[in-house]
């Protein structure tokens, strides 16, 4: 991925989200509109939470299947949107669905095995990326998800807390401890 693409993604999912928070409708309002059949509102929900769901799924499932499972998550969410009680907690609700869908993926495809890094990597850069991702996936679940949302999806600590429904303090602790464990796993840095 080129630097311009990285910058574009950073713009899409980083500062833009934060600066638009005051103008965009609230989550509950979007959910109400989506429940009333407003497709555009559900599209806004999708755009708002797709990186979150993608990160949750990526923390569990091989990369090739992540996009399909993300679609499945939103399909399930769309069908069960009426059952959502707390409209403002749609992020946590989507995280729960994403975890269930990832677990369902492993239940339905027990024989599926991800190819080793040596076979799937096309160059050193991809190999390095996969090595880091494997190291993150070996971390405890709490750290794993938070680190992927931060390092892969580019979300800030506050955004992670808002989207997942976790307390900012918990996210901060998870990020800090997760980074420590990741550094140890990768054998980089020296800071503790």
């Amino acid at each position: 991925m080129s630097n311009s693409e990285i910058a574009r993604n950073m713009f899409l999912f980083g500062p833009k989200t934060r600066t638009n928070e005051a103008t965009v409708p609230t989550e509950a309002h979007l959910v109400d509109r989506a429940c009333a059949g407003d497709k555009e509102a559900f599209g806004d929900i999708y755009r708002m939470f797709a990186p979150l769901v993608h990160g949750i799924v990526l923390a569990r499932v091989p990369g090739d299947d992540v996009q399909d499972i993300v679609q499945d998550v939103f399909l399930v969410a769309y069908n069960k949107l009426d059952t959502l009680r707390e409209k403002n907690a749609i992020g946590a609700w989507l995280v729960k669905i994403a975890r269930n869908q990832a677990a369902e993926f492993y239940r339905q495809s027990r024989t599926t095995e991800e190819l080793s890094d040596d076979l799937t990597s096309t160059n050193n850069r991809d190999a390095e990326a996969r090595e880091i991702l494997v190291a993150i996936r070996e971390l405890p679940e709490t750290y794993r998800e938070t680190l992927i949302l931060r390092l892969v999806e580019g979300m800030t600590g506050n955004e992670i807390a808002e989207r997942t429904g976790l307390k900012p303090e918990s996210v901060r602790v998870n990020l800090h401890r997760g980074m420590e464990l990741l550094r140890k796993a990768l054998g980089v840095g020296g800071r503790t």
Binding site: K39, R47, L58, Q71, L75, E128, A129, R172, L175
Partner: protein, 196 residues
């Protein structure tokens, strides 16, 4: 400093930036934002629409079939001639109350008493024996059977006998054919009996 970048993404942290840059290949790309939603919107409606269309088509066909059947039945009933007769071959009873009537075959017009049990306009022929008489009875129910009784003329009697002879010959030949098919031989007695 490092927590500042880790939390707010402000400032600098070369190590985390390097990780971010490497892991960016796995980042979510907004392609086909809600590809699943249109499928979900369309799929529940399609079967419903199909069911409604199928039900309407089925109901229309049923109504057309019923109307057609009723129309055919009514038109056949109306087109049947009022004075149509049916010819009934009945066994002549020897101890019939009307003993004064000769034992010669008679032709009677039979009332159409069973017209409701068979297709309209059809003629029923019943043969119960060789010594049957033909009775012509009026078709209408109001008229009494005795009113239609009329003695046959000699020409009619001759014609009747010829008809019965022809029927007898035909039936005997049919029986020969049937016996040939069944493999049983026809005795001369049977043949002579049939010819008689």
């Amino acid at each position: 400093m490092k927590d500042e970048y880790l939390w707010y993404k402000t400032g600098e942290d070369p190590e985390i930036e390097k990780l971010e840059k490497a892991l960016a290949v796995f980042r979510y790309r907004a392609a086909a934002p809600i590809a699943a939603v249109p499928q979900n919107d369309v799929s529940p409606e399609r079967p419903a629409r199909f069911r409604i269309s199928f039900a309407l088509a089925f109901a229309s066909l049923t109504i057309v079939a019923i109307v057609t059947a009723v129309w055919i039945r009514i038109s056949n009933t109306n087109s049947r001639p009022e004075n149509s007769d049916e010819i009934v071959f009945v066994q002549e009873s020897t101890d019939a109350p009307d003993a004064g009537v000769s034992a010669e075959p008679r032709l009677q017009t039979a009332p159409n008493r069973e017209s409701h049990d068979r297709p309209a306009g059809s003629r029923r022929r019943t043969i119960t024996g060789t010594s049957a008489a033909i009775r012509r009875r009026p078709k209408t129910k109001d008229s009494a059977p005795s009113e239609g009784i009329a003695k046959l003329t000699k020409e009619e009697q001759f014609a009747y006998r010829q008809l019965m002879l022809a029927l007898s010959i035909t039936s005997s030949k049919l029986k020969i054919v049937q016996d040939t098919i069944d493999g049983t031989e026809v005795t001369e007695d049977t043949e002579s009996k049939n010819q008689r």
